[in-house]
């Protein structure tokens, strides 16, 4: 684009490619200072963007300690179930916060033999060559870790922990309610695919959980998705209460099914 400016008497005449504009001196000065400001901030996020993320990271990084409390086999399991693109931000952040744990994560990645996963060698290469992971990716990675660790949460060893867990219970139920409610709002065809991945026992658990947490919308959905006979069977087998450990593993299973479904849908788009 051709850019030039000529000054005549009180006016500045702009030639900007195919456009002409004329500004008086004050307008030109205003443009000059705004232009400098805008150009120098072009790559910067909004003022609070990074502060907000830092606060979020502070509140979610405790999950690393829960991760560190798992045994090696459990860590392998978590990494295997965890969404692979989150590995990079998780490991990079862990290398900075808890280097010992980072070594265990790398070790776990090395033990995953499935060909659908990146090998340790490839992953180490990614650590060194991929673009810097922003704090935003780390925050998301840590959030996604939560359900997997909860599913594996070891049984409490002492009374203090038991009390602690009881205190946590309402908030876990709230999370479960949010998750199941969101799931119930999926289109029928998608929800059907997710339910297909569940065993009969797990379906009964879904039913019971929805009864316990009073998520009637999910029950209505089940009624319209399932044949009448199957729905009746579920209703008869269901219970009014679900143990927390069962609820946790059910949620982990459902979120894995949801992720698989997303992957499937993404592949279809391609």
């Amino acid at each position: 684009m051709d850019i030039s400016i000529n000054t005549s008497a009180e006016q500045l005449e702009f030639i900007l490619g195919p456009c002409r504009a004329s500004l008086n001196l004050n307008q030109a000065k205003a443009l000059e200072s705004q232009l400098a400001e805008v150009l120098l901030n072009a790559l910067h996020e909004q003022p609070n963007y990074w502060q907000d993320l830092t606060a979020q990271l502070e509140s979610s990084k405790a999950i690393l300690s829960s991760l560190a409390n798992l045994d090696s086999q459990q860590i392998v399991q978590v990494m295997q179930e965890y969404h692979q693109p989150h590995w990079l931000p998780l490991v990079r952040f862990t290398q900075k916060e808890q280097p010992e744990l980072a070594k265990r994560l790398l070790n776990a990645i090395g033990q995953i033999k499935s060909p659908i996963f990146t090998s340790l060698e490839e992953f180490t290469n990614q650590l060194n060559t991929e673009p810097a992971s922003s704090i935003a990716e780390v925050v998301v990675a840590l959030e996604f870790l939560q359900p997997f660790i909860q599913a594996l949460n070891p049984t409490p060893l002492n009374e203090a922990e038991t009390t602690n867990q009881l205190a946590n219970k309402p908030s876990f139920n709230t999370r479960a309610t949010t998750f199941l409610t969101n799931l119930s709002e999926l289109p029928h065809s998608n929800l059907r695919l997710i339910l297909k991945g569940l065993s009969g026992k797990e379906l009964v658990l879904v039913f019971s959980a929805c009864k316990m947490l009073e998520i009637t919308h999910f029950l209505t959905q089940l009624q319209s998705i399932l044949p009448e006979k199957n729905y009746q069977q579920l209703e008869n087998k269901s219970q009014a209460r679900v143990e927390e450990t069962e609820l946790r593993s059910l949620l982990a299973k459902l979120s894995q099914e949801l992720k698989d479904l997303k992957k499937l849908l993404n592949n279809r788009k391609k």
Partner: protein, 156 residues
């Protein structure tokens, strides 16, 4: 009449009451330099603006993956590299830039007139030397090959 600049999707937009004109950030920088000239702003001030613009850009490039980054600097002209290394001589960003160049290329750059001696006018340098470098980056962004991140951010 007034013109209001803003950045949208990596492009600069100039708006008046009824129209929006879109240009690249680099063309915006060129406009700012032309405007400074007409308004009699000291050359030192203009050079400072160009340096700040390129400092942010280079810092952001340093956040790219190592291969994309080295490829990008490899594709840059010797003149553009000479110009950038001269502008940031002795600064940490010049050191970072050197680390992405081969020894051979560094010696070639150091022989460039643009590195060694006094500079052409800001406008000449921008249009002839730096614009091709910037436009190449801009194309890579549009093709989705690279993404520029905020260098003031927090990264791991």
């Amino acid at each position: 009449m007034s013109l209001v600049p803003r950045v949208n999707n990596g492009q600069l937009e100039l708006q008046d009451q009824s129209l929006t004109l879109q240009m690249s950030l680099h063309e915006g920088l060129l406009l700012a330099v032309a405007l400074n000239e007409q308004l009699g702003v000291a050359d030192q001030q203009t050079q400072k603006l160009i340096n700040s613009f390129y400092l942010t850009l280079l810092e952001s490039l340093m956040l790219l993956g190592i291969r994309e980054r080295q490829l990008l600097f490899n594709e840059a002209s010797l003149e553009a590299l000479a110009c950038l290394l001269r502008r940031f001589r002795g600064k940490p960003i010049a050191k970072a830039l050197r680390e992405n160049l081969s020894q051979r290329r560094i010696s070639q750059v150091e022989e460039e007139a643009l590195y060694l001696q006094a500079k052409p006018s800001a406008t000449e340098e921008l249009t002839q030397v730096l614009a091709p470098f910037f436009n190449h980056i801009d194309r890579q962004i549009k093709e989705g090959k690279i993404k520029l991140q905020d260098p003031k951010g927090i990264y791991f």
